[in-house]
């Protein structure tokens, strides 16, 4: 269970207060798949970072009773100047998992070959997406926070990530910020539509997509 109560996040930019997430409340039960919809700048990524406790809300609380992944996005979660292998070693250490296990999984899933011994900063966007995705799947969380990242990969990656995430891990909780209407329609049961930092919860995905398209 993840419960967000009146979560607000403000940033101070150029002396002005900007409210990126405004008084958002919702709860996600174990195994549920929640879509987060909204245009660029609506507050989706901020909300996902708050759920991952990368940043702390200005006010409101977020309670969790399961293990939640770090936000899977194109950046964050790894160090660009370190090689793929060194990033894996670091993750293995802090999550207390055997390095060999993680390496085997990432090698198989991300198909990065010799690039794993190169610094992550030279990876293309698609490679980064595969690497980030593989790493977090290797750790095995109850709930995955996904910020767009699937869309960044090629067809093969998209197919494989669907297989790993929606089929093999069908029992997991997902919070998925995405513009991919088809994916959302086929897997998510509810949607949070965000606009100017505010969130509206819909139990009807078609309605949610319609509202999102009308914004």
């Amino acid at each position: 269970m993840i419960e967000a109560f009146n979560v607000t996040k403000e940033y101070r930019t150029e002396g002005r207060l900007h409210r990126a997430v405004s008084d958002v409340s919702f709860s996600v039960a174990r195994g549920e798949k929640l879509a987060v919809l909204g245009r660029n700048g609506a507050g989706k990524s901020t909300l996902i970072r708050l759920l991952g406790r990368v940043e702390l809300p200005t006010s409101g609380t977020i309670e969790q009773t399961m293990s939640v992944s770090w936000p899977l996005a194109l950046q964050g979660g790894f160090q660009g100047s370190l090689t793929g292998n060194d990033n894996m070693r670091f993750i293995a250490r802090i999550y207390n998992k055997p390095f060999d296990e993680i390496k085997a999984y990432v090698e198989d899933f991300a198909e990065l070959g010799k690039y794993l011994s190169e610094p992550v900063k030279i990876y293309s966007i698609g490679m980064r997406a595969r690497f980030a995705f593989a790493l977090s799947l290797a750790i095995d969380f109850d709930c995955y926070l996904i910020d767009e990242v699937i869309a960044a990969g090629d067809q093969r990656f998209q197919r494989r990530s669907h297989e790993e995430l929606f089929e093999k891990r069908a029992d997991r909780t997902l919070i998925l910020a995405s513009h991919m209407g088809e994916v959302i329609k086929s897997y998510c049961s509810r949607a949070l539509v965000m606009h100017h930092g505010r969130g509206n919860l819909f139990d009807d995905i078609d309605l949610a997509l319609q509202v999102y398209n009308d914004i």
Binding site: Y11, R49, G52, R53, V54, E55, L56, T58, V68, W70, P71, Q75, G76, G77, F78, Q79, S81, L82, D86, R89, F90, I91, R93, I94, Y95, N96
Partner: protein, 260 residues
């Protein structure tokens, strides 16, 4: 109790992982790599000490110059390095906070430990070198020397916490730190002993924790040959208060972390 031990184990694992990562990102994995930890402070300290030993009289106030400089300069270096490493360290490391078991205190600890380890390695290596050359003797009162150095480390870490926390709030801190870390040479007590100061200044000067620590280091270096004024109880109290303040500032800055 079980929970506490488990948390402690997690924290050490995380700090250890951060330490290794810090070594890789700072020193690289090729060439000397890890060896730079020792060499970095040495290539700075040895030329400075040698130049000073040439331009200054071999004895001042009856104290041998080289041991005086050696025992004074390395703590100074530690203070500067820790300070510099803590400027904006929360912002710079925001990416690590993607992993929720990593706290900013862990990052602080890892950075601090690396600086301290590197400094202590330089202390040992430069001592061995100067001892072999006959320029320094073993400290007369070794436990007192260690105690003084311990307070130096604590002082540097406490200031590091405060500088780290404040630099997240105001750009001024970073700008002021640069000149101050040089001016610190004069405030730190590096060049003076409390006994050399006129009495009306001595009381004031001894409020400064680093002078306190220097007094203890010198009591350790020169034993009864010098009169010193170090007060461990006072120093502990001041440093505890500064550390607490620093921790509060750091906790506050966590709220304002903006991840990449």
């Amino acid at each position: 109790m079980g929970d506490f031990r488990k948390n402690l184990a997690t924290q050490w694992r995380v700090v250890g992982a951060l330490l290794i990562r810090e070594i890789y990102t700072r020193f690289g994995r090729e060439g000397l790599g890890f060896g730079w930890i020792l060499l970095e402070p040495l290539i700075f300290a040895i030329p400075v000490l040698l130049v000073w030993s040439v331009v200054r009289a071999p004895y001042e106030h009856g104290v041998a110059l080289m041991p005086f400089l050696w025992s004074g300069y390395l703590p100074l270096l530690l203070f500067r390095h820790i300070g510099a490493r803590m400027l904006l360290f929360v912002r710079v490391n925001a990416g690590l906070l993607y992993h929720r078991q990593v706290t900013i205190f862990d990052i602080f600890l890892a950075r601090c430990l690396l600086e301290v380890a590197s400094n202590l390695a330089a202390v040992v290596a430069s001592f061995a070198l100067f001892y072999a050359l006959g320029w320094v003797d073993l400290p007369r009162d070794l436990p007192m020397f260690y105690l003084g150095y311990f307070y130096m480390i604590w002082w540097a870490a406490a200031v590091g916490l405060i500088i780290g926390g404040l630099s997240e709030r105001s750009d001024w801190v970073e700008k002021i730190w640069q000149p101050y870390s040089y001016l610190y040479i004069f405030f730190s007590g590096f060049f003076v002993m409390a006994a050399w100061l006129p009495e009306h200044l001595r009381g004031w000067a001894l409020f400064q924790p680093s002078l306190q620590a220097y007094e203890m280091i010198r009591a350790g270096m020169f034993g009864n040959a010098v009169k010193t004024y170090g007060d461990p109880a006072y120093t502990s109290l001041v440093l505890a208060v500064l550390t607490y303040l620093g921790l509060l500032l750091m906790r506050e800055s966590r709220k304002y972390v903006v991840a990449e």
